[in-house]
Every structure is written in structure tokens, then in C-alpha cells.
């Protein structure tokens, strides 16, 4: 193993095309270069230039006004991931507001709400991933809804999978799209109908159980809830996993025939992969996050974890526990260490429910996912957004969000720090122009696997009149009388020194100081991995001494905690296939027969880079439609097509392809919403079609659960 690990030592991480195209963003003619104050209606995009003094005075006085009138809980810094280098990014605003009484918090994210909530019900933790240097030891890899070649799940993760393949692993990819990962890494692509992952998982379990291929010793020793002999106290008579799979109580055995009807995967294929997976050791089932941004995403997460347990692959090299898979043994990179200070406001909401808190915050309780208090005191009345395009563009149901933000009686003041006039920034009252990361000092410790700290020195002068997020917040702090507390007297470069010291005092004890880091002329400080860490290695060796942090101390195939929630239809204590609220099997399919997914496109990071001409040339924004669906509708590649459902309409060019399951279309997520005079989006923002409805357990986004129809656009 050690030899292979050494072979895997990568001398440098390699940038993706977004990084390669950064030049065009840095020198983009549309960079914001002046503070702007709104003159037209909200969302109209009409602004006038303002001086920094005028703009910052306004921000400071609105903070004071909202605080006095509605209290600190009425102020909100929304989710958004456009800036992440310590001194750019939303953490700068948390620190600011925390010094003046705090703001309404949020928890979870738009990336992994369901998976971060659900994984601990099985394992008691989110640290369920081996270090990726271990992937080379795997002999069978299932990339389930995982596409590391196109999106970034750790820089160069796709290369580690390639190394595993070279080392003899068989790789299969389960995805409605034949992604670049399926093409370049997988031996076999298994197209699945979106939202039916648990049906496939259940049928695989059926094969393993009925053919006695599962690891019974492992299940007996390390798990609870597999069969009636293993049920926890207080739920002795509840339905076990095995009962569900065999259909003992509901009369429906979860056979491959049953799953074929639901998943569109031939039963022979299901049987074959179940056998291969159960008999090839060690194996890893890697769960991407696309499958959990869906109606009942939590069940798919738990279902995948349980397959890894049934096959006895937990806690061993080359194996994998499944779930969110933060890196062993400390959770991996932390992304931001800039200190935000304590938030005096205890209340927080699920990140996806911000619009609910705007509309009816003061009615929101635990039922709506509110934490820290029984009930919110106030609706959100002020939004302080930093590097976030998540209110309009990346939130579900754009037309709804736009209506909410247009109403000045709801959110009374909306300020944003931005580099460009994004669809979200158009709705702001004050837009403050931000410098790029090349124009300031920064530091980053990678995402999401890795043992690196990346120094981001200031290499360019700032565009005149742009400021860092930190600088802007410190100037607002000055107006609010807390500048000294905000800056602690440090310059930006001194904060980076501070951050390096922080890393040294925690998980990078040997990191050089800033001076040495600079002098070494290496952008990256890297700790070599000689022996990859394996999640649950201790538990595997001795489950009595090293109990999991679950209530039973074991892997919970059946969760008593979920059982006690008493909502078996939507939050089952074992992972059950649940038909989604919009699905090809529902009545809605009569009008809207196509499932829509919005995959992470190579040309963007979410909505960042959508205005980059280089990445757009390489990967133009198109709706991808299967050749059979296209033919039925008389559509050819390059045609402008109309895509619609009850929430909105898009007109955009299409590409007819073989590389997607019939019945599914793909609108790569992140394109900037560009409505015409009729409110029809002309760019192709998938969130015009997505729903604001949240998942039952995590209160997470279900933005890939969409039905729509496509037809030839009439007007062009």
C-alpha cells in the first residue's frame, strides 16, 4: 500500500478550465468600479453612481435603523460562495454584524443539506471518508451520482480515480447523464431515472440478501436494524430493513423487476452489478451530492451508506463508508478561519428557507427548522449579501424570489458586495464594488479533500474604487463605532499572517510563516500523505471499545431516532423508495413529462464565470435532450426551444444528444437569469423551473426534482 501511495504523490495540483480562464474575469469590461445606489424599482437594474462615503453612510444608517425598529434578528447575511480567501467572502459581514448585536444565522447549505443531515443517523458523524490517497486500493468503485471530472470535489480527485483504475479497479457510474466522468473514468455507465436511487439500492440489497452475498458477519457485529433480531429497544416490532426489502409487511418484494419499472435500468443489469459489487473486495460506493438535492434526498444518502455496510466495506483500506464523506480523521479542509466572533442572536434557519423568513419569519418555529429559539421574533427586514448570487439565481423558483425581493415592504434594505452586476445584485439597494482575489492577500486550505494550504499573494493593484469585503466591512464598522474591534489594528496582510499562525496552532503545525512562505516562491504548502487515514478504522478493529456516536454505538440501518419522529411516510427509519412530489409517475407528467436535472457545468462554479467568454466558448449554455425526445418534438440540435412548467419559461438553444437517459433533460445550473420583456428567461437558468419546496428531514433544497415540457420555440 505504501508504494502505491508514494506513486500517488502529486507534485502539483492542476487547475481546471475555470482557473485557466480567470484572466478573462480579472480583466472583464463589466467589472463593477463604482458604488451604486438604486434609482429604479427593485430588480429593474437602474442605479446611479455614488461616492463610497455616501454608499457606506447609507449602509451604516440602515443597519442602525433596522436594528432599532425590528431588532438584530431581522438582519440576515445569506448563503453564497463567490468569495473564499479569508478577507473576501461573507464571513467578513458576520464579523461586522456580530459586533453590533448579531444577525439571524443559517445552517446547512445548498450543496449538501440532506447528506450532511442524514449521514450521522447512520454513522454518528459526517467524517465518513477515507483520505483520497486510499482510493487506489479499491477494486470496485461505484460513482453514484458523482462527476469529479466536471465539477470539483477536491482538486484533481478525478486523477485519483484514474489511478485506482490503472491499479485494476472496475468503475461503474450511475447517473442519468453520461457525464465526462462516465466517459473518461468508468468501465460502464448505468443510466438511472432521476430520483429513483433508493429503488435501485433496494433491489441491489434484494439480490445480496436472497443470494446470500451480503456480509452477514459484518452486519451482525457492527450494525443494528438489519432484521427482526436486531431491532432496537422500543422498536422491537417495527419493520426491519430486511422485512422491507423482502416485502414481508407491504407485500412488495423489492426485486430487480420491481426496480426496473421505477429506475428504467434493465433487471439483468441490476442483478449483475449487485453481484459484482458484493463479491469484489474492497469496494467503494461514492455518493455524489446530486442525488440528495432532491425531494427525499435523505433516504438516498442513508440507502447508499447501508449498501456499504451490507457489503462489509466500512473501516477498511479500499473501502468506503458512504454518506457525505468528510475526510478522516479531522474532517479535512476548513476553508475559512477568519474569526467571525460570537453571534449574540441565537436563532438560525435552514439556508434554503430564507425566503420563508422574509415572508413569515415571525411565525416560524421548529416546524420550519428554526434552531436556537422556539420561534423567530421578526421577518427578515434587511439582507447584507457578500459574494452571493443565491437569492435570485441559485435559489429555487426564480420568478417567486424576484417577486419577494421586488416588494420593498418585505426586505426594506438590501446591500450587496459584488464584482459584477449579477441577477441578484440587480435587486439590491446599494451595490458595493469588490476587488478580486488577485488584488489582495488571501489564504485557502483547499476543498474538499487535501492537505494543502494555498497562499494567494496580492499580485495586482486594485481597480480604482474597488475594495475588499474586509475593507468595506471595516469602514462600515468605523461608522458604527466598532472599527477598532473589527480590525484589531491589523492590516489585510497581517490578518493573513494571523491565519497562517492559526493553521499552525491547529492542523498544520509545520507550516512556514508568511515571510518564509513568500520567499519559498511556492504557492502551496503541502503535507505528504504516507499512510492514508481510513474512516472508522478503530471501530472496525474493536466496535466495543470504539463505539460510533450513534445512539446504539453501531451502524444504524434502522434509526430509532428517525422512528421516534413518527413520520414514516416521508422520514422512514429505514431507507425506503418514496415517489417524488413531482415525478414521471405522477399526474403532473401528463402536462410536464420530462424530468429536468441541472448538472454542474465545466464552464462555471455555480453562477461564477457565467460571463466568461472563454469558458462559454468551450462549453456553451445549452439544454441537452435525448435524440428520441427531440425527434418526438421535431427538435434539432441548435434549435431554440421553449422549456416550461407552472413556475416559469425558458427559451434557449438545445443540443440533441445520446448522452442522457430518454425522458430527462439537462440545463446546466448557474446560468445568469436573463428575463425578456415577457419574463421568459433567455439564458437558461434552471431555477426558473425548480421548486422552493424543501426536503422533509434536512429542510434542504430539492432543486433537481423538476418536471417540465419542451417544445420548439415559435418566435425564432
Amino acid at each position: 500500500m505504501t508504494d502505491q501511495t508514494i506513486q500517488l504523490k502529486i507534485r502539483s495540483l492542476r487547475a481546471c478550465i475555470r482557473g485557466r480562464a480567470y484572466l478573462r474575469r480579472q480583466y472583464h469590461p463589466d467589472r463593477l468600479t463604482h458604488p451604486l445606489i438604486r434609482t429604479g424599482k427593485r430588480g429593474e437594474g437602474k442605479f446611479r453612481k455614488a461616492t463610497w462615503d455616501e454608499a457606506l453612510d447609507k449602509v451604516a444608517s440602515e443597519i442602525q435603523r433596522i436594528k432599532e425598529k425590528y431588532g438584530n434578528q431581522a438582519m440576515y447575511v445569506p448563503y453564497g460562495t463567490g468569495g473564499y480567501n479569508q478577507l473576501n467572502g461573507r464571513q467578513t459581514a458576520y464579523r461586522l454584524l456580530n459586533l453590533v448585536g448579531g444577525s439571524l444565522g443559517f445552517y446547512n447549505s445548498y450543496s449538501w443539506a440532506a447528506i450532511s443531515k442524514a449521514t450521522p443517523y447512520v454513522y454518528g458523524t459526517n467524517i465518513t471518508g477515507n483520505q483520497r490517497q486510499d482510493w487506489v486500493n479499491s477494486k470496485y468503485i461505484i460513482m453514484w451520482s458523482w462527476n469529479p471530472s466536471e465539477m470539483r470535489d477536491g482538486t484533481n480527485s478525478e486523477y485519483f480515480i484514474k489511478k485506482a483504475k490503472e491499479n485494476g479497479a472496475k468503475i461503474i457510474c450511475i447517473d442519468p447523464r453520461m457525464s465526462m466522468s462516465a466517459v473518461s473514468l468508468a468501465d460502464e455507465w448505468i443510466p438511472i431515472r432521476p430520483g429513483t436511487d433508493v429503488a435501485l439500492m433496494s433491489a441491489m440489497a434484494y439480490v445480496m440478501i436472497t443470494e446470500n452475498l451480503y456480509d452477514a458477519d459484518f452486519v451482525n457485529k457492527y450494525c443494528v436494524g438489519f432484521d427482526s433480531s436486531q431491532m432496537p429497544a422500543g422498536a422491537e416490532d417495527a419493520e426491519s430493513y430486511k422485512d422491507y426489502i423482502l416485502g414481508v409487511r407491504d407485500g412488495i418484494p423489492k426485486t430487480p423487476e420491481w426496480a426496473q419499472k421505477i429506475t428504467a435500468i434493465p433487471k439483468e443489469t441490476i442483478i449483475r452489478i449487485a453481484r459484482e459489487y458484493a463479491t469484489t473486495k474492497p469496494a467503494m460506493l461514492y455518493q455524489g451530492y446530486g442525488m440528495q438535492r432532491r425531494a427525499y434526498g435523505e433516504t438516498a444518502v442513508i440507502g447508499g451508506c447501508i449498501l456499504q455496510a451490507l457489503t462489509g466495506n466500512v473501516g477498511i483500506p479500499g473501502g468506503w463508508a458512504g454518506g457525505i464523506a468528510l475526510q478522516a480523521d479531522n474532517g479535512g479542509p476548513k476553508w475559512n478561519v477568519f474569526p467571525t466572533g460570537a453571534n449574540p442572536v441565537k436563532a438560525s434557519i435552514p439556508s434554503f428557507l430564507w425566503s420563508e423568513a422574509v415572508l413569515r419569519g415571525s411565525e416560524m418555529t421548529e416546524e420550519d427548522g428554526v434552531k436556537g429559539v422556539e420561534k423567530l421574533d421578526s421577518n427578515i427586514k434587511m439582507i447584507y449579501a457578500v459574494a452571493s448570487n443565491c437569492l435570485i439565481n441559485q435559489h429555487a423558483n426564480v420568478n417567486r424570489s424576484a417577486k419577494i425581493l421586488e416588494d420593498e415592504s418585505l426586505v426594506e434594505f438590501f446591500v450587496i458586495h459584488e464584482q459584477f452586476m449579477t441577477p441578484t445584485a440587480k435587486f439590491a439597494d446599494v451595490v458595493l464594488p469588490v476587488c478580486t482575489q488577485f488584488e489582495m492577500w488571501g489564504l485557502e486550505d483547499g476543498w474538499k479533500y487535501g492537505e494543502e494550504v494555498i497562499l494567494m499573494p496580492k499580485v495586482l493593484d486594485r481597480l480604482p474604487e474597488t475594495k475588499s469585503d474586509y475593507e468595506i466591512c471595516s469602514e462600515v464598522a468605523e461608522r458604527l463605532g466598532v472599527k477598532e474591534e473589527y480590525t484589531e489594528g491589523r492590516t489585510e496582510k497581517e490578518w493573513i499572517e494571523w491565519a497562517i499562525e492559526y493553521y499552525r496552532s491547529t492542523w498544520f503545525p509545520d507550516i512556514p510563516n508568511l515571510k518564509k512562505f513568500e520567499r519559498s516562491n511556492k504557492g502551496v504548502y503541502s503535507v505528504p500523505v504516507t499512510k492514508p487515514k481510513i474512516a472508522f478504522e478503530d471501530f472496525r478493529k474493536d466496535p466495543v471499545k470504539h463505539k460510533l456516536k450513534t445512539p446504539s454505538g453501531k451502524i444504524e440501518i434502522f434509526s430509532k431516532t428517525l422512528y421516534d419522529m413518527n413520520n414514516p411516510e416521508y422520514i422512514p427509519p429505514i431507507p425506503k423508495y418514496i415517489e417524488e412530489w413531482e415525478s414521471p409517475f405522477g399526474k403532473e407528467a401528463d402536462k410536464f413529462p420530462l424530468q429536468v436535472v441541472g448538472h454542474h457545468y465545466m464552464s462555471r462554479v455555480h453562477s461564477t464565470h457565467d460571463n466568461n467568454d472563454w469558458t462559454n466558448e468551450a462549453f456553451p449554455q445549452r439544454v441537452f435532450i435525448n435524440e428520441i425526445d427531440a425527434k418526438q418534438r421535431g427538435i434539432k440540435s441548435g434549435d431554440n426551444v421553449k422549456i416550461y412548467n407552472e413556475r416559469g419559461t425558458i427559451i434557449m438553444p438545445c443540443r440533441v444528444t445520446k448522452k442522457i437517459l430518454p425522458g430527462v433533460i439537462d440545463i446546466p445550473q448557474g446560468a445568469w437569469w436573463t428575463p425578456d420583456e415577457n419574463g421568459i428567461d433567455r439564458r437558461g437558468n434552471v431555477n426558473v423551473l425548480s421548486s422552493e419546496k424543501w426536503t422533509p428531514l434536512a429542510f434542504g433544497n430539492a432543486q433537481h426534482t423538476i418536471m417540465a415540457e419542451v417544445e420548439q420555440a415559435e418566435d425564432e
Partner: protein
């Protein structure tokens, strides 16, 4: 204008059987730039001798001689020479000849996150990887003798398979 372009190619289709969708799709990506052919037809047809193959085997354009007539673009089976609207001249991949002369790799080789591109003397590379260069959508090797070796994808499609096509025409 891109000197190196990635072609998504493939064949096959879909049929529905009972409730299942079955496909026999074969696809792979072909990263294609100038292949610095051993018998470069672009050099043969260039009326001003602007296109030459140097002692290292690299095919380059002398911009002082180029008249932008596009003959090279028409004959090249790999789409390597392209017309630059702003200069009125032809342009193409020169294998980063400046880097190569300093003993470095061409940029594309060092940039590829999947590390699938490798650069070296053709003879050495043939020894290491074999001699294969005939893969759809390339033409038969004998036309220009491209200085490229392709490690075949498991789903490789033969050059003369008429059912195959390029999926991303507008990107290449």
C-alpha cells in the same frame, strides 16, 4: 479560436424494452491539436512556403510569409490551421516551440488535470506506447503520417465506422 479542441465522439442509440431503456452507446473524448505530421500536407500546399517543418519536427507558420489563403486549413484533416480574422493570417498550434526549445513540455501537457497528454520524441513514445494512431474521427494514418500515438479508449470506434459521429460540433 482554440488550437486544441476536445471532440466528443461516439455511436449507438437507445431502445426501450419492457420498462427499461437499453443503450449501446460508445463514446470517448479526443483531444486534438496539430499532429505535426511526418508528411504534413499543409506544408505541401502552402504557396509561399510559410508553413514549414523544422528540425525538431514541429510544423510552424512564418507569419511574415503567410498570405492567409487558407489552403492549409482546407487540406488538413485535423482542423489544425485556422484563419485568424483579426490578423488575416493563418494560425495553429506550434507545440509551444519556445517552451520545447527550453526543454519544457508544451503547455497543454502540463495543464491537463487528467494527465492524459504526454510529449516526447516520436521514436521513444512508440517504444513506450506502441504505434496506434487510427481512431475515429481521424483519417487513416497513411495520408499524412501524424506524429501522434493514441492509447485506445475501451470504447474505441474504428476509423471507418460510418455510424459514428461528433457530438459537440459547435464546440470544435
Amino acid at each position: 479560436m482554440l488550437w486544441r479542441r476536445v471532440y466528443e465522439v461516439g455511436s449507438g442509440g437507445w431502445v426501450q424494452k419492457d420498462d427499461a431503456w437499453i443503450n449501446d452507446i460508445r463514446t470517448y473524448n479526443m483531444s486534438v491539436a496539430c499532429n505535426h505530421c511526418e508528411e504534413p500536407v499543409c506544408v505541401d500546399v502552402c504557396p509561399t512556403k510559410a508553413m514549414t517543418k523544422d528540425k525538431n519536427g514541429i510544423v510552424t507558420i512564418d507569419e511574415k510569409r503567410c498570405i492567409g489563403c487558407k489552403y492549409c486549413e482546407w487540406v488538413c484533416p485535423y482542423g489544425a490551421p485556422q484563419f485568424n480574422e483579426s490578423t488575416g493570417l493563418m494560425t495553429k498550434c506550434d507545440f509551444c516551440t519556445d517552451y520545447v526549445s527550453e526543454g519544457k513540455n508544451p503547455s497543454c501537457v502540463d495543464a491537463c488535470p487528467m494527465r492524459v497528454l504526454e510529449f516526447g520524441e516520436l521514436k521513444e513514445m512508440k517504444k513506450k506506447h506502441g504505434v496506434e494512431s487510427e481512431v475515429f474521427p481521424f483519417p487513416k494514418e497513411h495520408y499524412t503520417k501524424p506524429a501522434i500515438i493514441i492509447k485506445k479508449h475501451s470504447k474505441v470506434i474504428e476509423v471507418d465506422d460510418t455510424s459514428a459521429s461528433i457530438f459537440n460540433e459547435e464546440e470544435v
